[in-house]
């Protein structure tokens, strides 16, 4: 029974995705939401760079791309048609939503902090292992284990 529920959910999911294409809504969606689609594409490039590369610094670059794209996602949702920047002045009545801006200011700080700590770790790893490639570090770790077993 539980499996049935899972199956139904999966089918619904695909129908939704598929229905999107069939109903030719896609043009409408691209017209009205192209920003979101580009943002998602960027996020996925960043995520792919993070999980597929074997170089430690490249991973950090990927994570930065990923996070910065998420920032764009937030900023995109804050935009209001004909709105101006959320700084009060007498000529405007419509302002953009200030809350996502605030959240992203915080998130940018978090992102640079993570980068700094990660770079410090990488420098230490390079000092200890002499390389910043994951594969070679793994090889050296295997050597370490062998050596401790012999000892």
């Amino acid at each position: 029974m539980k499996l049935c529920a899972l199956g139904v959910f999966a089918v619904n999911f695909f129908l939704d995705m598929f229905g999107l294409v069939i109903m030719a809504d896609i043009i409408h969606i691209i017209q009205t939401k192209y920003y979101y689609l580009v943002v998602i594409f960027l996020m996925m490039i960043g995520l792919y760079a993070t999980i597929s590369t074997r170089n430690l610094i490249k991973k950090i670059i990927g994570i930065n791309i990923f996070q910065i794209s998420v920032f764009l996602f937030y900023i995109t949702m804050s935009k209001v048609k004909h709105g101006t920047a959320p700084i009060l002045w007498d000529k405007s009545h419509v302002y953009d939503n200030p809350l996502p801006h605030v959240l992203i200011l915080t998130a940018i700080v978090v992102s640079v902090s993570t980068t700094a700590v990660a770079l410090a770790l990488i420098i230490n790893i390079h000092k200890e292992y002499g390389t910043i490639e994951e594969d070679m570090i793994l090889e050296k770790q295997k050597l370490d284990i062998d050596r401790s077993n012999i000892a």
Partner: protein, 509 residues
């Protein structure tokens, strides 16, 4: 009297302020950082007890930061669940910092000790901040405080593998945090608010929105990564195994518990239980995954030769129990799950402290090196035995209480097929715990001169028969946790009462 009302914020701000002060005054005297961290965590423990009492008396506490009413400002919302978790976290933090002095003296270079304690305090502050807050974005901010300090703490391990373990944790942790950020974005887009109570009110009208579905998915994946739910646990064994002893203790006992708390809060507090069950089968998926976690975690623990790594895998299994109890959406099971947050903190904390004592005394981390240790370190090993039995779920220990409740809950939810899973998990943990207990008390026959101790301990002893117990400053806290494992196993009324209230609150919102 004024300060009584301000306690919810003081419990975060006081450790934060003292964390900032530690590097300034740490140069004066080498004991000052330890004294500050112990007193302040004790103080936090007292505050958390008082908060729990207030919650039991008057119900939910709401504190408006900056005096702005929610949802415009940030709110601290304290109910049964987070008051309980807060007590657990601050208590364990206090016990571990009492314990930490000698261990840190051995494992951390002298010039780094004051900075180490500063980061330790920041870690605790971050964890407590996650637990106490009623604002979903605030969770993200404090999550990052605790994660960043966690990465640095793990990297302080003596072996060079610690760096790689910490880096792997950093990458996965950052991906998890970014997933949570995406989830917050989607849910904010659907509702326009960030306050948890407000979200709870506004979400039912939006249950059919696909944005809410996606948000729940991303929260679940992100938090599962953070709390090391199988199969996203890959960062955990390395991180726990190579971290300094003190860090393993505090992380194993609190960090994953706080992750579980965040998951409970988001799956049951933000989204409601009807949503999880009727709109997407997320509860079913989690039941399958957590059952697998219980079995696989325990099975992998059996295959390990390193003591810390074995305990780390055992944590993966125990996290499976907590999540399983929670997603059954039954009151008894939820009670078991909430109380297992306390119980697992006590027993895992005690076990890792024992490992810390062994490492301090002998430098041994391998299971095979423990042979005949029962005579050498009788008190430490007694603590290990108690906590180990508790891990198996032997009656009269805390482990039994929570497993009993989860099993009853599984029956109530008409999922009898989960009972074998729970029992198998217990049996498998009996295997890996008993292997060690047998080894320390009833060693296989081996000529005495073949026993070798690796160096690295504070005092290297060569004679097996020599009685050499860990110093009292380490043994005391360890024994205290082990004693609590028994105490709460026999008289579990107080925690059960709170856990039951928390369970009712989570399920009936």
């Amino acid at each position: 009297m004024k300060f009584i009302q301000e306690l919810p914020v003081l419990i975060i701000v006081i450790p934060l302020i003292f964390a900032l002060i530690i590097p300034l005054v740490g140069r004066l005297n080498r004991l000052i950082p330890w004294i500050i961290s112990s007193t302040i965590t004790f103080f936090c423990f007292l505050i958390s007890i008082s908060l729990l009492m207030t919650v039991l008396d008057t119900g939910k506490i709401s504190y408006w930061l900056g005096g702005w009413e929610p949802p415009w400002g940030i709110e601290y919302a304290i109910d049964y669940l987070n008051a309980f978790v807060l007590v657990v976290v601050s208590f364990v933090a206090f016990i571990v910092s009492l314990y930490s002095r000698r261990s840190v003296e051995l494992e951390i270079n002298e010039d780094k000790r004051s900075v180490f304690y500063c980061v330790y305090m920041l870690f605790i502050t971050g964890l407590m901040g996650i637990v106490i807050t009623g604002d979903i974005f605030n969770i993200y901010v404090f999550l990052e405080i605790s994660s960043l300090s966690g990465y640095a703490l793990i990297a302080m391990g003596r072996k060079r593998e610690a760096l790689v373990a910490s880096y792997n944790y950093l990458i996965l942790g950052t991906i998890a945090a970014t997933f949570i950020l995406i989830g917050i974005g989607y849910i904010y887009m659907a509702t326009g608010t960030l306050n948890i109570a407000d979200l709870q009110e506004r979400l039912p009208a939006l249950f059919h929105s696909k944005m809410v579905l996606v948000a729940l998915g991303f929260f679940t994946v992100g938090l599962s990564l953070k709390l090391a739910l199988f199969p996203l646990h890959t960062w955990l064994p390395g991180a726990y195994a190579y971290a300094p002893s003190v860090v393993s203790c505090i992380m194993a006992a609190t960090a994953t518990k706080v992750g579980v708390y965040a998951m409970l809060r988001i799956i049951f507090g933000v989204f409601r239980i009807e949503f999880d069950i009727h709109f997407i089968p997320i509860a079913n998926i989690l039941i399958v995954i957590s059952s697998m976690a219980i079995i696989v975690g325990a099975a992998l623990a059996i295959t390990q030769t390193n003591l810390k790594r074995m305990l780390a895998y055992s944590s993966v299994g125990q996290i499976g129990y907590i999540v399983l109890g929670a997603v059954l959406a039954d009151q008894e099971a939820m009670t078991g799950s909430v109380i297992h947050i306390l119980n697992h903190a006590l027993m895992k904390g005690a076990l890792f402290m024992v490992v810390g004592c062994i490492v301090y005394k002998t430098g041994i981390e391998d299971i095979s090196g423990l042979r005949g240790m029962g005579k050498k370190m009788p008190f430490t090993m007694a603590a290990f035995t108690i906590a180990g039995l508790s891990m198996m779920g032997v009656p009269l220990t805390v482990g039994f209480v929570s497993k009993w409740y989860i099993a009853i809950g599984a029956l109530n939810a008409e999922m009898w097929y989960l009972i074998p899973v729970i029992i198998t998990g217990s049996l498998l943990s009996a295997v890996y715990i008993w292997r060690i207990i047998a080894n320390i008390y009833f060693p296989d026959e081996l000529p005495e001169h073949e026993l070798q101790y690796t160096d690295g301990g504070a005092e290297i002893t060569n004679h097996k028969s020599q009685y050499s117990e860990a110093p009292w400053s380490m043994l005391g806290p360890t024994m205290a946790l082990a004693a609590l494992c028994i105490y709460f196993g026999i008289s579990a009324t107080a925690p059960l009462y709170i856990a039951e209230k928390a369970a009712v609150m989570l399920l009936q919102q």
